[in-house]
């Protein structure tokens, strides 16, 4: 399976906001935030269909999300995961003595993972907390 390297940023989307205020334990929250937006050019390199599950891995963690085409592109080389537990599974927690984690500009690898499941927010956070990895 091809594996590509992208620069990950996270941030708000209107769907993230609406589904967050509708309940983070609801499926809509996962549909809005358990995704990664990838540029069409990067999709070609990835050799994957739109809406396939992919595994996103950084030096700080790994998570399965659904790959969708960039809604606010083009932005080749940049991947976007909306603000939420899925993005936070892979962002850089280091604050470099500012108090602020590095939520934007995290190098990640993305590879197709069609047989893996995207976890809901609560299960994802509980599973990662229990895994004890540090």
């Amino acid at each position: 399976m091809p594996k590509i390297t992208l620069n990950l940023i996270s941030g708000r989307t209107i769907q993230q906001g609406v589904s967050m205020e509708g309940g983070k334990n609801k499926p809509a929250y996962q549909e809005a935030c358990g995704i990664i937006e990838i540029d069409p050019a990067d999709f070609k390199r990835l050799s994957a269909w739109r809406n396939t599950n992919v595994r996103v891995t950084s030096a700080h963690g790994s998570v399965v999300v659904k790959a969708v085409e960039a809604t606010q592109g083009p932005h080749p080389g940049i991947a976007f995961i909306p603000l939420g537990p899925w993005a936070n599974a892979v962002v850089n927690p280091k604050t470099f003595s500012t108090g602020m984690p590095t939520f934007k500009g995290v190098p990640v690898t993305v590879e197709p993972a069609p047989d893996e499941k995207v976890l809901d927010a609560i299960t994802l956070v509980q599973t990662l907390c229990r895994s004890g990895k540090r």
Binding site: Q16, E21, N25, H60, N88, F103, V125, C129
Partner: protein, 438 residues
């Protein structure tokens, strides 16, 4: 007949819209319709009506399930946890009222803990920069009535502050901006072609994380000095052109967001943005304002400011207030394992902190105060449901431009559910008893 409550304040983002109308059922107990709010704000009001909303505190059992307990038991657990901890951390405070924030600060001081708000993962670096170089700012009313140069840098209000552009910046017809959007020039700087960028006259698709270079390039261009052919992926001609657009306005404003506060360079990005604003005042009137996220994150900073002199990340564990982001800030305290109890209120660190920090929370004695079930409540030992501030109880909040606005109560909370203030008052009273303080 239905009843309409007018001039309701929306408790979602820092725009703090004050023109919401809420239509209530005949008996005044149900929200039927929300008028004027954005999609997110309307959803927040409707969510208060959810049938599956928890109405009693829930305590985690050894097998991982949750059991309902009384508010008395919840107050006792919380008070014992905070009173017995060596260095508890009380985090959040951004989606509740200033009145509740003040009680929280008193509890922190009494217990010798650390108190922090969501600026820690939002505009904390902005606050550091403000202390470094000052801030030439204004109110949103001035922007609406005067601004003809609008810059959105590293923020996407079309998604995060949906009514910001229509109420204050691009579209409204103000006193000196009678032609609305036609009288304004809009510049957006963002590595993506965001929906805000699509509305702009000039979009600078900066290389991600190169905002500092581009800000300094604009400062250079203002003075007409030499620039390399491209800076941060932007051709120099576009930078000179942008600098001219900024200079030629009568009143300009830079709104900035997470694109600059959370990228590497962090507070130095904001330093450069403020210095650019300062230098633009050589040519015209220019101001700068952070796009604050939670509706009252500014308010907690204000309360902390007047009580302890610092806007966030305050450590009172030595009996006096200390402030040193990177040392006394929430993420660092958690990652270094320096706190032995975690209390969160009016925010959701479980969803919005890097997972390593969340894992630390799950290992600590912890209480989460939130009207609904969130990732934080599901990794905490105790979940205390409370009334929605701004919907079920009033209270003071600060808009992103530091203007205080009193939120209005629209409906009653579910029977028996306490407000943040009531719960915190009871916890404070119990901690005073435990500590033998009058």
């Amino acid at each position: 007949m239905t009843k309409t409550v007018t001039d309701v304040i929306c408790p979602f983002c820092g725009t703090l819209c004050d023109d919401i109308e809420v239509v209530l059922s005949d008996d005044g107990k149900k929200i039927l319709e929300v008028v004027n709010a954005c999609a997110i704000g309307a959803q927040k009001f409707h969510h208060a009506m959810a049938e599956d909303r928890p109405k009693k505190p829930r305590m985690k059992q050894p097998d991982g399930t949750y059991k309902e307990v009384s508010y008395d038991e919840a107050v006792e657990y919380t008070a014992q946890m905070l009173a017995n901890a060596k260095k508890p951390l009380l985090y959040g405070w951004s989606s509740t009222s200033c009145e509740a924030d003040s009680i929280g600060n008193e509890i922190t001081e009494l217990c010798g803990g650390c108190v922090d708000n969501t600026a820690a993962v939002c505009h904390g670096t902005t606050l550091i920069a403000l202390q470094d170089v000052g801030v030439p700012s204004c109110t949103l009313g001035e922007v609406r009535n005067r601004a003809d140069r609008i810059i959105y840098w590293g923020c996407n209000p079309a998604h995060a502050h949906p009514r910001h552009m229509s109420r204050y910046s691009i579209f409204p017809r103000g006193f000196f901006t009678g032609k609305g959007s036609q009288s304004r020039k809009v510049i957006v700087v963002d590595p993506r072609v965001t929906d805000t960028a699509k509305l702009a006259d000039y979009h600078y698709q900066v290389e991600q994380g190169r905002d500092y270079e581009l800000l300094q390039a604009f400062r250079t261009a203002l003075k007409g000095e030499w620039l390399p052919d491209t800076v941060a992926g932007i051709p120099k001609e576009k930078i000179y052109e942008g600098a001219e657009v900024m200079k030629s306005g009568r009143f300009g404003i830079i709104f900035f967001g997470m694109g600059v506060t959370q990228s590497l360079s962090k507070n130095h990005n904001i330093d450069a943005a403020i210095c650019l604003t300062k230098e633009l005042n050589t040519y015209t009137k220019f101001t700068i304002m952070p796009m604050r996220g939670h509706y009252n994150v500014t308010g907690h900073g204000e309360v902390l400011g007047w009580q302890y002199g610092f806007p966030y990340s305050v450590d009172i564990s030595r009996g006096y207030a200390r402030y040193n982001p990177g040392d006394t800030s929430t993420i660092d305290l958690l990652l270094r394992g320096e706190v032995d109890a975690f209390f969160s209120i009016a925010t959701d660190p479980g969803a919005h902190f890097p997972i390593d920090a969340v894992r630390r929370i799950s290992e600590l004695p912890s209480v989460a105060v939130d009207p609904f079930i969130t990732p934080t409540t599901e990794v905490s030992k105790l979940h205390v449901p409370v009334a929605f501030v701004g919907i079920e109880v009033g209270g003071n909040a600060y808009r992103m431009d530091n203007v205080p606005i009193d939120c209005r109560k629209v409906i009653d909370p579910p029977e028996g559910v306490l407000t943040d203030e009531q719960f915190l008052e009871r916890v404070l009273k119990r901690i005073r008893e435990l500590k033998g303080v009058k």
